[in-house]
């Protein structure tokens, strides 16, 4: 086994399938992990703010009045599925499967991301139409801040996915493109992890 096969960073390593990019990945991917750590601190603080504002409804609607478990559950399913398809895309890229597979998996991931955003926007509009706007109470302010920060991350991920698909078409599977897709995939999985906490703490916790 050559030294290239050694895992150089957490997550899917290119290893022997592309030793040149694999060597570059160590520093780049490590840096991205560190960024994700910093991003997680941001979410942790939004969670803490949310937790401290549970009950600060100022006489307005509370979780049981505005949350719908079915909708949140569908969103969770869609996002978890998109993480799976993103994983399949990473594997297709690593093992140099037929390019249409990589395009396909990335495309499906993008689609699921957009569906998730659509469902979330629909929820927000519905809540607002019932008077549960961010301006109504401290609790709602913190709810919208937490959930839409996650939503903005998913939106950023969708833009990134689109650009990656374009770059695949323009440049093919160059090292630069591969490294970007590897980081995108870490980013996407992280959003999944954050969403699991949102689903558990905000929705399940709120409706319990």
């Amino acid at each position: 086994m050559s030294t290239a096969a050694r895992n150089r960073h957490p997550g899917i390593n290119l290893g022997n399938t592309d030793p040149h990019t694999h060597a570059q990945a160590e520093e780049t991917l490590f840096g991205f992990w560190v960024f994700l750590m910093s991003d997680l601190v941001l979410f942790a603080l939004l969670f803490a703010t949310y937790a401290s504002m549970i009950g600060a409804t100022d006489g307005g609607p509370g979780p049981k009045d505005v949350f719908e478990l079915s909708s949140a559950a569908i969103e969770t399913g869609v996002l978890l599925l998109s993480s799976l398809t993103m994983g399949m895309a990473s594997i297709a890229m690593k093992y140099k499967e037929h390019p249409t597979r990589l395009y396909g998996w990335l495309g499906v991931t993008l689609l699921l991301g957009l569906v998730f955003l659509g469902l979330e926007a629909h929820d927000f509009v519905k809540m607002a139409s019932e008077g549960a706007t961010p301006q109504r109470s401290g609790w709602l302010s913190s709810f919208y801040a937490l959930v839409s920060t996650h939503g903005l991350h998913v939106l950023a991920g969708c833009i990134w996915l689109t650009i990656s698909i374009i770059q695949l078409a323009v440049f093919g599977l160059r090292s630069e493109v591969k490294l970007r897709i590897m980081r995108l995939s870490l980013f996407w999985h992280l959003l999944d992890v954050v969403w699991i906490f949102i689903f558990s703490v905000v929705y399940l916790g709120g409706l319990a």
Binding site: V41, L42, M53, A56, P134, G138, S141
Partner: protein, 688 residues
Amino acid sequence: MPTTEGWWPLLFGRLSYDALPFYSAIATAAASVVVLGAITVVALITYLGRWRWLWREWLTSLDHKKIGIMYVVIAMVMLSRAVVEGSMMRAQQAIALDNPGYLEPEHFAQLFSTHGSIMIFFMAMPFLTGIINFALPMQIGAREVSFPLLNSISLWLTAGGAGLMMVSLVIGKFSTGGWSGYPPYTDAAFNPGVGPDYWIFAVTLSSLASTMTGINIAVTIYKKRCGGMSPFRMPLFCWTSLCTSVLMIFALPPLTVATGLLALDRYVGTHFFTNDGGGNMMNFANLFWLFGHPEVYILILPAFGVYSQVISNFSSKILYGYDSLIIATMCIAVLSFTVWVHHFFTMGQSADLNAVFGIATMTIGIPTGVKIFDWILTMAWGRVRFTVPMIYSLAFMVLFTVGGLTGILLANPAIDFQVHNSVFLVAHFHNMLIPGLLYGMIAAYTYWFPKAFGFRLDEWWGRVACGCWITGFCLAFLPLYPLGLMGMPRRTQEFFEPAYLPYTIVAGVGALFLLAALASLVTQLVVSIRRREELAVPGGDPWNGRTLEWAIPCPAPEYNFAVLPIVDSRDAFHAYKEKGTAYLDHRFYSDIEMPKNSMTGVVFGIALAAASFGFVWHIWWLAVLGVLVAIAAPVARSFVLDTTRIIPAEEVRRDHEAWLARLRKLPPADRAVETTPQNRGLAEAAAA
């Protein structure tokens, strides 16, 4: 002018002629200085025909040394403004007994807000970031930081924030909410003007920049060390930089969240920190100080690293207690996250909670004490040379210990209740930050200046500046301790207690010394540039240095090392000199790949600064446009694949051999002539 209807608000938001600073002679004068200064700089560059040079060699450069130097330039410009502001406040208080003085209360409040915000975010942070950027890659034997483009983006975000601070002097009024900007005072209900918005956006730009810098520096230290540079062989400055960057990664997001949520309160009408609607300002206090306390150590640890280098270097000894210094630094970094409540002991939490945080705070005194003893023992039995950086280090050790003792006093909640919100606190944190941070940064500037520009700074003017900084600090801030114990509140524009006056007058005299210190630094720079031929140190090693950055020419070449070094001990360059292997011809040279210039950082920083200005003045088209450009710039850049250029091995060989040939003709300098023109940058130890 019709400023609330028609096309005006669409184009200019709430900007109107009232925003110009003609409401007071002093504000007009200050704005004129900024405008004239900017015009002079632009005119000078145009007259000298240096725009292209500036753009190619500096603004778009991804060279870590140049980025570091640009950070320090920002820091020094902002230092000048903030020192003047501080002196204005001292002058006001020196005449403020039963006298409204020359500053309106509102103007005074703006001054302490800008003074604090600038000193922390646009003086201290850029200064230490610049010094780390400049020195650290060379110390670990690297050619670049891990992410050169990200580095440039951080620089330009910081520059954008600093620019916003300068614009706020000319257009509109800055916040009167202090550097910590507490709501609900800064909420829209009480402060609908642009002031808090300027504060929010300037601080947020700086916060984002520092987060990215932290990531960049940490990854550089983990992944870019040269062969043989195991963690426990790194110079201590690298260790303190590592701790600072880890703190940046974890501690800046709370600030981003705090300012972000405050912005939502002000712009969208949410209820995070408002008095009504279920808001809770304690969340702001917690978020802000969750950043604010680690920030203190972000500021001070790099200076500890500089002192460690300087004291070891100018005592001609290996650093005493290297391992204990690393452990102490790590302890401080961890403990810094456990003490934030001591910034608001009086805000209503239980006595038990205060006791926990009080004890945690006192604990930090232990690792800090360890460091002081290590530095003293480094000097013991060494051959100590009293150069400018060394004098700063000595002043630091004495004054910082005094400040630390008052910190232990403040850590006791019972005492804190007595002196909170008094000038005792002002005395304490200036006592920590001026000797702790500023002296360290000026020492670093003096120490590494030759590595950046190829000549030393004038020693005599350096000593004058140093004397003024020390005298000025003692006169301006030590009287605030008794004043605080007498009960004088901080941020006081006028007072009616005659007993305060003698002390405020002494403090006012101290401010004059601080102004003189600033003037001496400027003079030192001008004098040094004029004497640059005399002060040149082409040998590269003016201080008989011990670490790798002194093994290369002054100024350092773009690629730092012609051939990447391999080290087998701590203080690697010192070891080379002992073994006589410091200046060897290399047999093999290889092509060196360096990052090409990029304008992405410039565009990104300016776009976000413009967007911020748009948000501050509700000029929505500008805000949206700025954000879109800021998104587009890195996306566009991601389509550029040709991002590096090759420096051919032959060129590297030629330059390196030319330097070695020149070096061998230089007279070796004994340490007795270190500060004279006889010092050409070749140490006697190496020549022997």
